[in-house]
Symmetry: C2
Subunit: 318 residues, 2 copies
């Protein structure tokens, strides 16, 4: 999960007077905020500071953040999809790889792993078609039913871009990469198997043999966990809306797990956070591996002492 | 699911120049829009036109709709919870029972069942504490962790109110009642078992023996479907984010099912809607009973011809 962010006063300090998009392209500042959680909250891994929409303007899409992505001209016509470029990310967003390179240098002596990430095709397409975040994504869903071929052409281009983007991140030093499918969990199981799962498999297939494991996160995906386990990802990252012990028994022999405490529970008293982290580790224990984590990124109001309690509790498990 | 609503031009016509709250209290108009879906879209049951917040102002809470409930002074202190009244709904919202009585009269000759409904305690508390709808309900969740006793005192009062309200609806002519827990699906399984499930059980227990079955809908509840099945409700209403065939096998011998087509799929071509309705009926067939329905209410942009295709497809199944 993204660790840097608005819950940290030190992050807000670095962000002052600069837009989110400019911040993503500002190598020194992006490096700085990526590293902040190590010392500030005791994180044991570092994830690149960027947004899942970082590589999208390079396709020829005009967008802004308010704070979620807002697409100037939502993609709803075949001609718009055809016009989209699939750029080489090394050329369209060179700063991403420079940030990764500098982070690897900074982390080399500390034995702290570096993670890269990308948005999954369905989630990127969801924003591009809908035009922004949405409770129901009904414009997207109408298009899925009325003109699935066009949506699939868009998913195709996004898949190609995502593969190139993740490969380039691994080349630049990412030691694991996480694929975020924020909105695929809004689909019923049959629709998920058609419009989300095959693209995960394609991406996992393309990265097979790369020196970095793939972590797949499908938000709100408890109803499709069987498919997620068959995506080809090495690690399945779960939010809190799953019965962790059961998932660990059901799919934990095929994949490792990551997660899954509700970030809102970091408002709890310190002893209660320790207890919940222990319960989580116990529940996940049937899995072949488990990365203790939250089930979603920190929220702007997440208390820093709660995040510290979490990492302290994780270390206390030994 | 609520059938009347903004997707119907005839509903919008009746709503013109009147606020949502006034509309709920306007007996002739509420009766009129409750009945509209029978002839306009071919619905085979009628649900009372109201909102889950209908009985809440009678507790002493000032609220408005914009369009979801907005609480003038969110309930965050013990003193506020203590001050809440548990009114007799027959006195605080007499119009609800007058509407039900008139609907029963209107439906008597047509063999069309009449449904009442209420919001579940957790969902009502979620809005009352948070102050409005929210993506994360982090104020609510912080309070759950920091002052659970106070939230539980609030849940207690809301449970008592909900029992009285549903009993009075059944006395006034409701032939089945639906309990909507819109936000309980945001909880992890352990939190759900503590703050949502026991209140469902209390309500189901209190209604046992009443001449109206209880239907329980927990939005986004695929991870707690085992608990839902043990709530004591006669029918479990599902949204589309479950594997229906599996749920029908797992819990369909204990409870009947209702649902669960994604309302956004009503944008599909008519033949495709017929196909999806058949698939849904097949998937649910292991259950002891199944009420064909959507997985959520219609959205403002739901096409009326899509809703008609759904009811035609249901009738075509015989």
């Amino acid at each position: 999960m993204r660790q840097a962010g608005r819950y940290l006063p030190e992050y807000r300090e670095v962000r002052k007077g600069i837009s989110f998009l400019d911040m993503c392209a500002d190598v020194p500042r992006a490096v700085q905020v990526s590293l902040q959680p190590i010392d500030l909250v005791g994180a044991e891994a570092v994830i690149l500071f960027q947004d899942i929409f970082t590589p999208i303007p390079g396709m020829g899409v005009d967008l802004d953040f308010a704070p979620g992505p807002v697409i100037a001209e939502p993609i709803r016509e075949a001609a718009q999809i055809e016009a989209l470029r699939v750029p080489d990310p090394r050329e369209s967003v060179p700063y991403v790889f420079e940030i990764l390179g500098r982070l690897r240098e900074a982390l080399a002596a500390r034995e702290i792993p570096l993670l890269g990430f990308a948005g999954a095709p369905f989630t990127l397409a969801a924003y591009l078609i809908q035009g922004s975040g949405s409770k129901d994504f009904s414009i997207l869903k109408a298009m899925l039913q009325q003109r699935p071929d066009e949506v699939e052409a868009l998913l195709e281009k996004l898949t190609q871009l995502t593969i190139d983007y993740l490969r380039a991140q691994i080349e630049a030093g990412a030691e694991a990469v996480q694929l975020f499918d924020t909105w695929a969990g809004l689909l019923d199981p049959a629709a998920y198997r058609r419009w989300a799962h095959p693209y995960h498999q394609r991406i996992a297939g393309a990265l097979q043999g790369a020196p970095a494991p793939l972590i797949l996160y499908v938000q709100n995906g408890s109803h499709v966990v069987d498919s997620i386990a068959k995506s080809g990802a090495d690690v399945v990252s779960l939010d809190w809306r799953v019965e962790l012990a059961q998932v660990a028994r059901d799919i934990g022999s095929q994949v490792s797990l990551q997660g899954n405490l509700d970030p809102c529970w970091l408002h709890a008293p310190r002893e209660r956070i320790f207890e919940m982290v222990r319960e989580m580790a116990d529940a996940a224990s049937p899995a072949r591996g488990h990365i203790l984590n939250l089930g979603h990124g920190c929220l702007p109001d997440t208390p820093v002492e709660g995040v510290k309690a979490f990492t302290d509790a994780a270390r206390a498990l030994g």
